[in-house]
Amino acid sequence: MEVTISTAELLTTDGTPLKQSLRKAERRNKLRAFLLVFPLLLFIVVTFVMPIGDMLLRSVDDSQINSVFPNTFNEYKSWDKEADELPPEEVYKSLFFELANGDKRQIGKALTRMNYAKSGWKSLIKKTTREIKKIVKKGEEPVSYKDTFIKINKLWADPTYWYSFNQMVNDRSSIYYWNAIDRTFDEDGDVALQDEKRRMYINTWFRTFKVSIYVTIFCLILGFPVAHLLANLPLRYSNLLMIFVLLPFWTSLLVRTTAWIVMLQQNGVINGILVWLGVISDDGRIQMVYNEAGTLIAMTQILLPFMILPLYSVMRVIPKSHMRAAQNLGAKPAMAFWRVYLPQTIPGISAGGLLVFVLAIGYFITPELVGGKDGKLIGSWIAYHLRTTLNWGLCAALGGILLGIMLIFYWLYNKIVGIDNIKLG
């Protein structure tokens, strides 16, 4: 008997080739899955991603002041600083008219911006504008605009004021990012260190990293044995003890921070116990809160569950027989732990460590409340500029740098652990 194998394409009942029909079904399924996700995706993009993007744009935006002094800045760019000590006459002339005719509110905003570059601008321009308006009112036309300015205030002959224009003359500028790490532009427009008294961010950045690293290490030291105990106890007991880890996790951050203030303050619980035990005298109470120590203690307790939970889930699946086998083969318990158990917990350690570190560098509430003067982290500066100084460019730049650092660690976390492996509770 002869078997014939059809070489023609397989067809479905309605006559279309099977491959094509399958591909169509696949496409439809993809579309359906995507349609389910779409509403949330759109929502997150509009309410979350766009605001963050807007903030990043703001961190490089310097267009407001450029719209107030367009001609002045244009003329300024042609100033040859090597040849002339002061800007050419045209710069003074354009500034004269832009101050005389400009919109008062816009100039006010621009002045605030100028004060970030060099303090003193605001009062100088305000005084000058008043005089200029008088001159315009009288209908006089100055012979030399430069001399008029210098006659109004001799600071106009001080080139350092003019040099500070360097960081404002472009619509898009990186100056806020440089400011955020204590740098500025010097007379040639090159990057240079800020004045001594204006340097405050580098220290805070270092402290942020230092505190985050310490907190991560403390969490690891405290969390490792606890996770080990939870992973090796019979389920009945470990579920019960898990409450100790999960309850703080579920409790409001402010409640935990308040609790630490109550515990650590000078007449607080811990000092009280120490005095009662006779460890310290009544007037020798230790200052444990409103400084860096307070930040460290409170943040360690608050972030500890984030270390214990990933460690626990890794340790849970390490077979107990491994340690016994190692000891059977002659390893001392310490050696068996070091060579057999510890290497298997590395995924848990890296997951927990990264999570705690990433959460710690962005912390704001706890350091702000218990950190006092020397325990504040970079988040406090962001809040300060957002609310108090309204220097939103700098605020956005600080946020942008922090976000960049976060994204690097986020990416690392994704590589090592996988974003979709995040578990709660």
């Binding site: 996700v37 995706l41 929502f43 703001r58 409450i243 703080p248 402010l254 956005a396």
Partner: protein, 298 residues
């Protein structure tokens, strides 16, 4: 893990040291939460254990519920103290917190559950990227989120409105819903959907009659996570809420910054009780969900 009977004395010592260390850590985790409860019943306007409270036999004069009365806005003579202001702010904050929290929870749960259903389908394109975007509000530090939202919402006149805060809270809360519901769907038997559809059920009916009852525990846990996220959120409300949108965390923040008073501790005690309640509920739901899906408790 008990100590084997052949353990040497040195091993015994290490073992007990290890247990002691763990006990200290557990104490460190939980003690601060419970230390505040007795102080909230103090008669003194300072947040300390007074001598009367520590005296034996207990001195009834040292204890009172005056700060609780203060918290619920009862400003009668025995409650008012010269240093502690009495107002209805705490109650107003509670109402607002529940109002914002409940609306945000409903929106976040609906959007998050839909997205989780889509993400769990085998055909989902760009799953990794989309998941990363959806989870990002949970990862980005709150202070950055707050700064970005403040600038952006100010442009469209949403700062100092309930709408703005609810939108922000929904964005922050959805990752928790997505994660919890996705986790529930991992063990979900897709054949049941096929069975329902082959019996003639339309997609909507399949969802409400087959899928939803099975993943309901996951949805409720996600909703509780979403609620507590909104309920405890302080950084966003700090920048985006005016006095009209006063919430409990905002009032607590103000309390800690300006007028350290035991009333804060009364509210903190209530919040600890609330978190105990929520934790128990979520734990029970998790067990039920595992039972429903036929997963044996680990």
């Amino acid at each position: 893990m008990a100590l084997p009977s052949y353990a040497t004395p040195v091993q015994r010592t290490y073992y007990y040291l290890y247990l002691f260390f763990c006990a200290v850590v557990f104490f460190f985790l939980i003690a601060p939460l419970f230390a505040i409860i007795p102080i909230s019943f103090s008669v003194s306007p300072f947040m300390v254990f007074t001598e009367g409270m520590l005296a034996w036999p207990p001195d009834p004069e040292a204890w009172s519920t005056r700060w609780y009365k203060n918290m619920i806005g009862d400003c009668s003579a025995d409650v008012v103290s010269s240093t502690v202001p009495c107002s209805t702010k705490w109650m107003k904050g509670t109402v607002n917190s529940f109002y914002i929290g409940i609306i945000a929870t409903f929106i976040a749960t609906a959007l998050g559950t839909l997205a989780a259903l889509g993400l769990s389908r085998p055909h989902m394109p760009y799953k990794g990227l989309i998941m990363a975007i959806l989870i990002s509000p949970m990862i980005v530090p709150l202070i950055i989120t707050a700064a970005g939202m403040f600038f952006f919402y100010a442009r469209i006149n949403l700062v100092y409105t309930f709408t703005g805060i609810i939108l922000a809270h929904v964005a922050l809360a959805t990752p928790f819903v997505v994660i919890t519901v996705t986790a529930t769907l991992v063990g979900f038997d897709m054949n049941m959907v096929k069975a329902a559809q082959s019996l003639g059920a339309k997609p909507m009916r399949t969802f409400f009659k087959v899928i939803m009852p099975l993943i309901l525990p996951g949805i409720i846990s996600g909703a509780l996570f979403a609620f507590i996220t909104s309920f405890d959120e302080v950084v966003i409300v700090m920048f985006m809420a005016s006095i009209d949108q006063l919430t409990i965390p905002k009032q607590m923040w103000a309390g800690i910054r300006q007028e350290i008073s035991p009333v804060i501790l009364c509210m903190a005690t209530c919040l600890v009780l609330l978190s105990i309640f929520l934790l128990t509920t979520v734990e029970l739901l998790r067990r039920r969900s595992e039972k429903l899906r036929g997963i044996k408790a680990r």
